[in-house]
Symmetry: C2
DNA sequence: CTGAAAGCGCTAACAT
DNA sequence: ATGTTAGCGCTTTCAG
């Protein structure tokens, strides 16, 4: 049970009676090696349970480590989980290992994570930027060849590739759908903080949709929520207005859960809903939930692909890639004008 | 744009006109240092943008790296996302960085991941074992002091701590709930492969519940599914039987989504459902979904806490910790006997 | 309080 | 086909 030292290259070499370099050659299929020594080395490796120390190897080779750093707001948010898996799938064949962390949308935590990742000499950095985070400090790293990609939101103070959803257009489409079904008072429950890129863009889409339809913009219809519970409260608040909305637009997946749950709890089937982000069981609700679906897999794939291209020497100007959203009409946006008739 | 070398300790030392060791001392708050040199060193560090190379540091220190390796089946599965976040939250204050990967429940991928993590000298290894994976190879590492914890399922060939849900009891409770409401033909849609620990345990709970009630065990009521689509198919198959079930038990969260979606699609409100695992919007369904809720946060916290205790020298015998599940009754388990009356 | 030398585990660059 | 030397960036050890 003694915490005995892990075997090293030298241990293997000694066991076989060759030099360390020879063992290294066999294991990395570098240079030649006689079939006989190869056999013996491999046998000794197995016997001693030797595993090369990747950190030691990397420090010698000098290049970046075979890791990719990923900062997302919350590991438990299924949206970012899907993004993360797509990134992993994209970089796996390159042998990159994922270094991950949740920022909780806190700039300080985001910075702590990126600093740690940089200290580990990650070969790629993909970040979902927190509101208030500044990325100027990454300039030198980017200049030194480190691919940096911002995901879901643009970064600040650094010209790096960004991959975002078509937030404005998507929100516009969702709200326009509500308007097309006769709604003129549409509540907006956005994410927090209000400075969040996605929040601003989606609100902008909401406003242009109203404008196009000649509907006045009423600030009392704007609310915000950080979590499901907050969204539930916001729903109650909106429906309690003197002149309450007949429809609600959810700013993201978590907010959508809060709104839908609250409406079910209070038995309000007469309120139309469209959500930004698809959610599980959207189809099984009554009415089924109409959504502006994002494509988290495509976001992740694209971000990873950009980063790999940079790693492979792409030196073109940094640019922003927009991944389209898709309006999935399932019914919840059509109340009360249409569906209500059936009831 | 030249990929200029990152500054090293030596660079900082040269800048200040002092030895590398002195810089090291200042940065690690090792040994003493005059206020003056400290100032100068810190200034130079800032000026050059120096960040110590954690890999180099670690190789010298020799101990395990400040990383924790985590292998889960799927980063995009919200259940494991919640587990991962709980682990992260628990180890963050210790300064550990998360190294993660999805095994896709493939033993080869699981092994590839653990090998990579071991090669990086992680200080902790937490694994959700795949069916068919063998963990004998971890024996030496555990003996050398590496904390290994199995999560959600026990490992194979290695006596290490495990943290699992009360699968059998939970499933029993869920099925008993259905029986209590008059159901005697209860379909089981389990996860795959059938050898999966959770599948076996939950099926065992299903069987004991039937036995206690004196209901015969009918193999034709057993189905399996690997994903949401498969669960939908299984539902169709079960409901198409000559003597179809009046209730369905879902073996996990993904299966639950498939069953509920399929029932909604086919308008079958007369089929009762209880699911293992809570899912978002369960409350908003009609009827609301009754579930046997797991506690992913507690699973993650407990696993991480066990691992940290081992890291701190706990040498007690390996044991299995069972995290209780909780039956949340919301209505869907009561059809058709009770709720049907209202309609 | 500070520095010089040695070495962590590995590999690049030369030998042989 | 194999071995030797040097050195990656850092810290430990031992001297000052």
């Amino acid at each position: 049970m003694a915490a005995n030292r892990r075997p090293t290259l030298a241990d293997v070499a000694r066991e076989v009676g060759v030099s360390a370099k020879t063992v290294s050659r066999v294991l990395n299929e570098d240079g030649p090696a006689s079939a006989q020594t190869r056999e013996q080395v491999l046998a000794a490796v197995a016997k001693l349970g030797f595993q090369p120390n990747l950190m030691a190897r990397n420090i010698r080779v000098g290049g970046p480590d075979t890791t990719i750093g990923l900062v997302i707001p919350d590991l438990a948010n299924p949206f970012f989980g899907a993004v993360a898996r797509a990134i992993e799938d994209t970089v796996r064949e390159r042998g990159l290992t994922l270094l991950m962390g949740s920022s909780a949308d806190d700039p300080a935590r985001e910075r702590a994570l990126t600093d740690k990742f940089l200290a580990r000499r990650v070969s790629i950095l993909i970040v979902v930027p927190s509101v208030g985070a500044d990325h100027t400090h990454l300039k030198a790293h980017r200049a030194a060849g480190l691919p940096v990609v911002f995901l879901d939101r643009p970064g600040t103070g650094l010209a790096a590739d960004s991959v975002v959803s078509s937030n404005r257009t998507g929100a516009h489409d969702g709200v326009a759908h509500l308007i097309a079904h006769g709604h003129r008072r549409i509540g907006f429950v956005g994410d927090l903080p209000t400075k969040l890129h996605t929040r601003r863009e989606r609100l902008a889409g909401y406003r242009t949709a109203l404008e196009s339809a000649g509907i006045p913009y009423d600030r009392s219809l704007l609310t915000s929520a950080h979590d499901q519970h907050g969204a539930s409260d916001a729903t109650v608040q909106l429906l309690g207005l003197p002149d309450p909305p007949t429809a609600l637009f959810a700013g993201n997946n978590i907010v959508a859960l809060g709104i839908v749950t609250e409406l079910a709890r209070s038995g309000r089937k007469d309120v139309a809903v469209v959500a930004f982000d698809d959610v599980p069981l959207a189809e099984a609700l009554e009415p089924a939930l109409t959504v502006v679906a994002q494509d988290p897999e495509e976001l992740g794939r694209t971000a990873a692909a950009r980063a790999l291209a940079r790693l492979d020497g792409d030196r073109t100007r940094a640019h922003t890639i927009t991944v389209p959203t898709r309006l999935i009409i399932r019914g919840s946006g059509e109340l009360p004008t249409d569906t209500a008739r059936e009831a």
